[in-house]
């Protein structure tokens, strides 16, 4: 028993180290796939964090929330207000965002978790849509509506003023003097992502995580045994809401603007899709899903005929034109189409999402080289999925 625990600990350390390695080297491998610039790398980290947190709720407990974008939005608005009222330092922004989105999640979770299945989903959706609609219109004094809440030069910033810190004409967030845009901003997000991943790993491995999984596989039976599931569900909901709030604050830190659209149902839907696409209930899946979707949104949408012509330039003229004609509906303004096709193909052929795809590939590879071993962690089989809703 002792050895098993030790080896699983070692394994987790290795997983974490490997994860940190991959994240911190993102600027290098990002170059290879055309994603090596700060904004997209920041988005990878931020949405990875969002999806990890979402996975704690949806992946472990099976409760499908359709309103997590609201917590992201609350996190963003809180962070920007922290910039406006207190200081351009990122730390208070992060802390307040986590706190406030946690409170918001507690309130919404308290009400929504009275119901299960699709009824729960629609309750969360309704709360989030109400937040979005109000933020876009009547709450404009707080949210600045369509334009989005921005940091302005003449904001009070009481802490900065007290400390005599001056800001330029367009104030930027900082971490004790280090301006958090560009690559420093990415590394800040990356550290948060690694911390968030570590926390999620801990939850996955803890008795608490096991109980959440048990709720997923059979909530009724757990309640019959006299086990009160509500505190567990609510705490998981609040934790995932705080992850969303953290992600929201990071969006505001790397780019001091908070827009209402990030609370819309499509944004909530996006994180659901990210999680399922990558691999629901797995450790790495959600991050992989988030990276894939953000990559498509930013890189595929940027391909135009000029780029395609350059890409296929090595072919004879006729073939170049043919290839451009074949591929152009799928890039640029057609990037949605590619995404839709990708969703369908993946879920039809590899039901467990991208992670299962990688796993299958690995198994195929391993079968040739060595006898099958134990089930690796993080795979579907490790945290099997029960009925989702």
């Amino acid at each position: 028993m002792q050895t098993i625990i030790t080896s699983s600990r070692t394994r987790d350390t290795i997983i974490l180290a490997l994860f940190a390695l991959i994240v911190l080297t993102a600027p290098l491998w990002g170059q290879l796939i055309g994603a090596g610039y700060p904004d997209l790398l920041q988005k990878f980290a931020i949405f990875g964090l969002f999806a990890i947190g979402y996975n704690i709720m949806f992946g472990l407990t099976g409760y499908l929330s359709f309103g997590h974008a609201a917590f992201l939005g609350v996190g963003s608005y809180t962070a920007v207000w922290s910039f406006k009222l207190l200081s351009m330092n990122a730390i208070p922004a992060v802390l307040f965002a986590i706190l406030l989105s946690g409170l918001f999640a507690a309130a919404i979770g308290f009400l929504s978790l009275r119901r299960t299945g699709i009824y729960f989903s629609i309750l969360t959706l309704a709360f989030a849509q109400m937040s979005y609609n109000l933020a876009y219109s009547v709450l404009t004094p707080i949210t600045n509506g369509e334009t989005g809440l921005r940091v302005l030069r003449d904001d009070p910033r009481v802490i900065d003023t007290a400390l005599g810190i001056q800001v330029g004409s367009s104030p930027l967030s900082d971490f004790f003097g280090l301006t958090l845009t560009g690559y420093p901003g990415f590394y800040f997000c990356a550290v948060m992502l690694i911390l968030g991943f570590w926390f999620s790993l801990k939850i996955f491995r803890s008795p608490y995580g096991m109980k959440l999984l048990a709720i997923k596989s059979n909530q009724v039976r757990m309640e019959y045994t006299g086990f009160n599931t509500r505190p567990y569900l609510l705490s998981a909901f609040v934790i995932s809401g705080m992850y969303a709030g953290l992600a929201g604050s990071l969006m505001a830190i790397t780019d001091p603007l908070a827009g209402a659209e990030r609370m819309q149902w499509t944004a909530s839907g996006e994180v659901v899709l990210m999680t399922i696409l990558g691999g629901l209930g797995t450790l790495f899946g959600p991050i992989l899903g988030a990276t894939t979707i953000k990559y498509f949104e930013n890189i595929f949408s940027a391909f135009n005929e000029q780029v395609l012509h350059q890409a296929f330039d090595f072919l004879p003229q006729v073939l170049t034109d043919l290839m451009v004609a074949i591929t152009s509906p799928f890039v640029g303004e057609g990037w949605h189409l590619t995404l839709g096709v990708l969703f369908m193909i993946i879920i039809i052929f590899i039901p467990g999402g991208l992670i299962e795809g990688i796993e299958r590939f690995r198994r195929l590879f391993r079968r040739r080289h060595q006898p099958p071993g134990e089930n690796p962690p993080g795979s579907r089989s490790h945290s099997s999925r029960g009925p989702a809703t």
């Binding site: 499908l64 309750l123 309704a126 849509q129 949605h336 969703f343």
Partner: protein, 332 residues
């Protein structure tokens, strides 16, 4: 008083539309257990059946406008008008009613293809997988329409005779109570379709088996009844219903490729408020939400509660779901 009556009419009209849009979704969930995120896209496809029929009817003889030299501008005269004169004009005018007839087989085929080709492989899969695959399908359908018809809305008019408004107040001696003909037709149409679906499920043997299957699929299967094939037909039926809802909606809302997504959330809210899988529930919820939405949009209400019309649908959904665990008429 007349303002009040008009809002009741608005509410009924909206309610009819919501109920009709939600009907197919709840039918598919109730029988097949599938959460169909492509439902909105099927609504959009129905509307584009009307667009295509109108385009076919108005294939035109093009006469170049010679005053414009920088590009080719044409004065278009539909061939139908040239060949058949007023009869042709009338045919074009009736594009929407004609589309209804054409939409039935077209939507049935689409429904069967989607069920056979995709959805049936997901009966036993988790809801999460169903959501992802049907959402993917919705995006693909949407993008195909966008590639062929562009992103802008396309106007499709109701027949001239019902394009305007009826002075229904005159019947009851009330001043200023006018309401568009087409909206009243829509209300009537949804009533007929809803009644038809109910009659089909309750008065036919087929319907009985399907309802039994909704209740307990395995037992029905054990009785030696091929429930799968019946499910295919149910999916086809649901697709026809949503397609017709789309065709009929075109004169009210000029269709564009994205209209399905705009109605997706709404239809889910209606279905869930009514009780997932309950047909009467969906109808009741549709009317309830429609009427309340109309009332809360009145200036008198908005002046007390600014912005209430922005959130009223969701607020009602929250209240109902908190009071009634399974929606209005859902079963456990």
């Amino acid at each position: 008083m007349d303002a009040f009556l008009l809002q009741i009419l608005n509410g009924l009209d909206k309610g009819g539309a919501y109920a009709l849009i939600a009907l197919g979704l709840t039918l598919v969930f109730g029988t097949l257990g599938v959460v169909n995120f492509a439902h909105g896209a099927l609504f959009m496809l129905g509307a584009f059946v009307a667009v295509s029929v109108q385009n076919l009817l108005t294939i035109s003889k093009k006469v170049k406008d010679e005053s414009i030299t920088f590009f080719d501008a044409y004065k278009e005269t539909p061939y139908l008008e040239i060949w058949w004169g007023d009869t042709g004009t009338a045919l074009i005018d009736y594009a929407v009613p004609i589309s209804i007839v054409i939409a039935i087989p077209v939507m049935l085929l689409i429904g069967l293809a989607v069920e056979r080709g995709l959805v049936r492989h997901f009966y036993k899969r988790e809801h999460a997988d169903q959501i992802l695959v049907t959402f993917g399908l919705a995006i693909v359908l949407q993008e195909i329409i966008k590639a062929n018809y562009g992103a802008n809305p396309i106007p499709v008019g109701a027949p001239d005779i019902v394009a305007g408004s009826a002075n229904i107040g005159a019947l009851f001696g009330i001043e200023g109570l006018v309401y568009p003909w087409w909206r009243m037709i829509y209300l009537l149409f949804s009533a007929v379709i809803i009644a038809g679906v109910f009659a089909f499920l309750h008065l036919t043997t087929f319907g009985m088996v399907v309802r039994a299957g909704m209740h307990d699929r395995e037992t029905v299967g054990l009785l030696g009844i091929n429930i799968e094939r019946r499910f295919t037909i149910v999916f086809g039926l649901a697709t026809i219903v949503i397609g017709l809802a789309g065709v009929m909606y075109t004169p009210i809302l000029p269709p564009d490729y994205h209209m399905g997504m705009d109605f997706l959330v709404l239809s889910f809210v209606v279905v869930v408020v009514g009780g997932m899988g309950s047909l009467p529930g969906a109808v009741a919820a549709g009317f309830l939400l429609g009427i309340l939405q109309s009332f809360f949009s009145m200036n008198e209400v908005k002046s007390i509660l600014p912005g209430i019309d922005q959130i009223i649908i969701y607020l009602i959904a929250v209240i109902i779901l908190l009071v009634r665990p399974r929606g209005l008429m859902g079963k456990d």
